[in-house]
Subunit: 196 residues, 2 copies
Amino acid sequence: MLRKVLSSRKVILGSQSPRRQNLLKGLDLDFEVKTQNTDESWPGHLSEAGIPEHISLMKSLVFGELDPLTILITADTIVWSEGKPINKPKDTAEAIEMLSSLSGKTHYVYTGVTIRTSEGSNVFSDETAVEFRNFSRAEIEYYVANYSPLDKAGAYGVQDWIGYIGIERLDGCYYNVMGLPVRKVYEALISLTRQN
Amino acid sequence: MLRKVLSSRKVILGSQSPRRQNLLKGLDLDFEVKTQNTDESWPGHLSEAGIPEHISLMKSLVFGELDPLTILITADTIVWSEGKPINKPKDTAEAIEMLSSLSGKTHYVYTGVTIRTSEGSNVFSDETAVEFRNFSRAEIEYYVANYSPLDKAGAYGVQDWIGYIGIERLDGCYYNVMGLPVRKVYEALISLTRQN
């Protein structure tokens, strides 16, 4: 569907995340990956969904002006637990600490997305609630030793072992937790082609 | 974790489904796949979760007596919509009909699991609610033409394109919709090793 309706456009995914690349592929869409370094800080008055929306826009704007055929997709994911944002851990000790703090509780995953063309930007986000069961120390250490938590918000990948053994309940979009709310991206791309 | 605690046991997955095989692999567990044909009918008084629980037990019992080291895992998945069970479509016309009937509504996916040893069977199930947005006829036809809905309960794979573009909301276990409630399977396997 999208391959046909977007055939005259050039879609760029501005993300190094292999998970986001695979999710976008799942929409049956041709695109290129290009990345630029972005400052991922945010103004202090932002919270929850506002933070990844802001960062996704920053990740988009560093690409500068776009030619009329280009559609640029950027995204950012943040985990929010007990009133505080949880980003990527800086080392395995912090990964263990983060997972211990998420154990036995519900946290919220927000992915902000910016879809930008030469005409302007569509910025949106999605929220998913994830309830973890209580993890044993051995389970957390097993995960951190055998998987790669360091490049992931909240120190876990929902598609990894810990997502298999640990989720008591998920409410919302599963793919949003992986890093891209694909249904909303699909709808935004469809509506883009309807406007033009 | 499981590889270590189950090292003296032989785990068999009694399912041809490549999705179930991948999900069980995600638990970091060694196992063999063996399948036997089973009558997948059920007594008329069963409904919802009872049906796949019953069928998962039937799929297990056809293997006959188990040796004391073996752990046999079998499962069955059913979709329930508007008070009726929806199984696998017999042809593409029925797949289109099933997806049209699920469009714009919430349906419920039940996977029943039997974990059986020479000591007895643990039979359980999980329920996940899936809300589909309204599909256009073109989207349904695109999916049926480009994917393989015929071997799937409800005529769709949640991990396919239609799951990417179509889920308004998912409540429960995502992997249960794929065919195996992996967290519950993990906990059942852990508790099995504690009993022995």
